[in-house]
């Protein structure tokens, strides 16, 4: 028995050693993944981009904002004149948290009826949880500080009736009850579809090459770009059906409300699917055999899932890692999906992501056709 096993082991070894590229991929991929994911995954969400509308601009309001920034949970990235402008910024996804301080804040704090409004982007789960917990704690701490200050000075319990001197009113936009499923479904639809599209086309070309049928296509007058588009289109139908079934289950079974325009969503889903299929196709033309394609799919799936902003918000990642994330269609579609389904915004707010996806498609299809042509020579 041992002899026979050894013989096959030897055969496997020489096979593995002959396919150098696969071997190198297998040896270097884990390192790459560890470095990328090691920097990308961040469980404690801090430094949340925050927009502030401070209508008092007095000492007390500055103190309060100072406490928020000192907590390291909030980074003030922009200022706005009023609540409407703050909500607009969150709608467009520029900032994830808004703080609105009404006029005469110092006066109100003295009288003990000060109100601060903290608005949180309820499209992202980590942000919502982290921001609401932090805002609560900081508001409470500030209240206690103000009260104890006053009690120490007056030395009496008279002010007890006005116990909360500062009331931080927290509103989670889009998902006021912070239901997990509302957070999860839009991003998950995007993630499932990215995996699906990459897997669908990743073997399309390499399989024909391995099996040998590619020669038959080559003798026809077909051009590389025509071949590439022809490979993508049938799968678009499959992926679109996938998306429709996911959304149907999300809306009718899990009762996730669909706030925006359904047709806009379908239109952009088309664009997204095309970009994912294009990425799969590029993998397919780059790989020499199906095994290499398999390894690359694994790399792209894993890294794409984590860097795409579905699980962890992208603003917590270092800039270099965010750049790598730009290589995946998911990165652009997560804001689109959450924007339309959860926030109910339109093209005006999503313009840059849509544009990125379109550019992405052109680049990826062009690269795939070029690599394919080069491989032919």
């Amino acid at each position: 028995m041992l002899q026979r096993v050894l013989a096959i082991v030897q055969k496997e070894f020489s096979q593995a050693l002959r396919d150098r590229v696969t071997l190198v991929i297998m040896l270097t991929m884990p390192l790459l993944q560890l470095i990328l994911l090691g920097y990308a995954i961040n469980m404690n969400v801090r430094h949340i981009p925050t927009v502030v509308a401070d209508q008092s601009l007095d000492q007390t309001s500055r103190n309060y904002l100072h406490a928020m920034v000192n907590s390291e949970y909030f980074d003030i990235a922009a200022t706005a004149p009023d609540q409407a402008a703050v909500i607009q910024a969150i709608d467009a996804g520029r900032q994830q948290v808004g703080i609105v301080i009404p006029p005469d804040f110092a006066e109100h704090v003295k009288r003990g009826d000060a109100q601060v409004l903290v608005l949180v982007d309820g499209a992202d789960m980590f942000t919502s949880i982290s921001a609401s917990t932090a805002a609560d704690i900081i508001g409470q701490a500030q209240s206690i500080a103000v009260i104890s200050d006053r009690v120490t000075r007056s030395g009496s319990g008279a002010s007890l009736s006005s116990l909360p001197a500062l009331n931080a009113h927290l509103r989670v936009l889009y998902n006021p009850d912070m239901l997990t499923l509302w957070f999860i479904i839009p991003g998950m639809a995007a993630m499932l579809l990215q995996t699906q599209t990459i897997v669908l086309t990743a073997v399309a070309v390499v399989k024909e090459r391995e099996v040998g049928t590619i020669e038959q296509i080559l003798v026809t007058p077909i051009r590389p770009i025509e071949l590439m588009i022809g490979k993508v289109v049938p799968y678009m139908v499959i992926a679109l059906v996938n998306m429709l079934s996911i959304i149907a289950i999300g809306v009718f079974w899990f009762h996730v409300p669909f706030q925006g325009s359904f047709w806009l969503f379908i239109g952009l889903t088309f664009v997204y699917i095309f970009s994912g299929l294009g990425l799969g196709l590029l993998i397919s033309t780059v790989s020499q055999n199906q095994r290499q394609a398999q390894q690359l799919i694994m790399l792209f799936m894993m890294v794409g899932m984590v860097l795409g902003g579905f699980v962890f918000p992208r603003y917590t990642m270092p800039a270099a890692i965010r750049l790598v994330g730009n290589l995946f269609p998911l990165t652009y579609f997560v804001p689109i999906s959450r924007g339309i389904i959860t926030k109910g915004v339109g093209l005006a707010q999503l313009g840059s992501d849509v544009l990125s996806l379109l550019v992405y498609i052109v680049v990826v299809m062009f690269l795939a056709a070029r690599t394919f042509r080069k491989r032919l020579d």
């Binding site: 040896l27 560890l34 499959i238």
Partner: protein
């Protein structure tokens, strides 16, 4: 005819060919349509960031009204489920070491008196190898204590009706909790993350590699040549294991070194144990890959199955989302992933620094897993030959 229409003709001919190809492979097509739906159901139920019902060990050395009140508040919050009671801190740490509980609550003697004099002190211990448990345990414990303290203070104020008590209440709340996070006191993300990440990467590469092993030879046709030799199915399967294992062991050594020296994550336990049980994990991953390989008809099917497994692993194994907050049936689905068991082993050895004795059930699970998967793979393989 313009070149445009000719191009369109060529294109539609090609399109037709692709359509026919896809429609012919009915089984793959079904998979394509059904998979995302199944995944959505599984993941939607599994993913939850609010970890409630942390299994908790309790040491109540007071057993008075106040301590019972406080424990009641903890349980009512839904953050903590008291599953064990012990006599002292040592036993609690042991239980956390063994992974039986994720949190410990220790109430010292004379709690009621201490609370009345404003010096109540509760110690909360949290399992620092699981990030989510720590975070929600931390938040839960401080929120509950604060609420409980404020409650007590307002009661006291009402009774005495004076501001003097309030002052005391504000400056030193009647109960303070000291929270200690075991294994990872500074709450460094990478300490939480790295062991699981290493395991995840290794499982991915190993399954991807071995899943292609058998089906590839079948598709390319070299399989027939091997069948002509006297090698038996189980022998073939075993020999497929060995070269891949060597490559993956090198991978493992690489990324462990990177983790320790670049990311500065210390290995607290025995390196020998880590190597041995990692080998076992590699075998189990290989076995799973080979099973996939012998079940699949084409490399494409094998790819699809591994892609799904990949997502299962990321979301169901306990790597990101805590398994204790998942419904039972998603936990059972998670059990088909070797990582689910190995995660506890690698976190146990690297982060907690416990010995193999604490990890026996997971080690045993991996052994059984490997044997079952290998036997299955050989059986399916044999059947396919006929």
């Amino acid at each position: 005819m313009t070149s445009m229409t000719r191009s369109f003709q060529r294109f539609s001919a090609l399109l037709y060919k692709e359509m026919v190809q896809i429609l012919r492979d009915r089984r793959t097509l079904m998979l394509f349509f059904l998979l995302p739906v199944i995944e959505l159901f599984l993941f939607a139920y599994a993913v939850s960031l609010n970890v409630y019902h942390l299994p908790t060990a309790l040491v109540d050395q007071s057993m008075d009204v106040r301590s019972r009140d406080f424990v009641d508040a903890l349980v009512k919050s839904n953050y903590f489920d008291i599953t064990q009671t012990y006599q002292n801190e040592q036993q609690v740490i042991q239980a956390i070491d063994a992974g039986e509980v994720k949190a410990g609550v220790i109430i010292p003697p004379n709690f009621a008196e201490d609370v009345n004099s404003g010096q109540g002190n509760v110690l909360i211990l949290l399992d620092g190898s699981d990030s989510f448990s720590v975070q929600s345990g931390y938040n839960g414990a401080s929120a509950i204590t604060q609420a409980y303290s404020i409650n007590l203070t307002t009661q006291a104020v009402k009774k005495s009706g004076g501001g003097a008590v309030l002052l005391a209440g504000v400056n030193n709340t009647p109960i303070t909790t000291a929270t200690r996070v075991l294994y990872n006191p500074d709450l460094r993300d990478l300490v939480f993350l790295l062991p699981g990440l290493i395991a995840l990467i290794i499982q991915n590469i190993i399954v991807a590699h071995s899943a292609m092993a058998v089906v590839r030879e079948r598709e390319v046709g070299t399989f027939e040549q091997i069948l002509a030799t006297p090698a038996r199915p189980i022998e073939m399967i075993l020999s497929k294991l060995i070269p891949g294992m060597l490559v993956v062991m090198v991978d493992m050594a690489f990324i462990l070194t990177l983790g320790v020296f670049w990311f500065n994550v210390p290995i607290n336990g025995s390196i020998v144990a880590l190597v041995v049980w990692s080998l076992l994990f590699i075998v189990s991953g290989m076995a799973l890959g080979l099973l996939i390989s012998s079940v699949s008809k084409t490399q494409r099917q094998a790819q699809q199955i591994t892609a799904v497994l990949n997502m299962f692993t990321l979301l169901l194994s306990g790597f990101i989302y805590s398994r204790s907050s998942m419904p039972v049936w998603t936990q059972i689905v998670g059990d088909i992933i070797p990582l689910t068991f190995y995660l506890k082993i690698i976190r146990g050895i690297i982060t907690k620094g416990v010995g193999s004795a604490y990890l026996t059930s997971d080690i045993l699970a991996l052994v059984i897993y490997s044997v079952v998967a290998l036997v299955f793979a050989a059986a399916v393989f044999k059947k396919r030959l006929d």
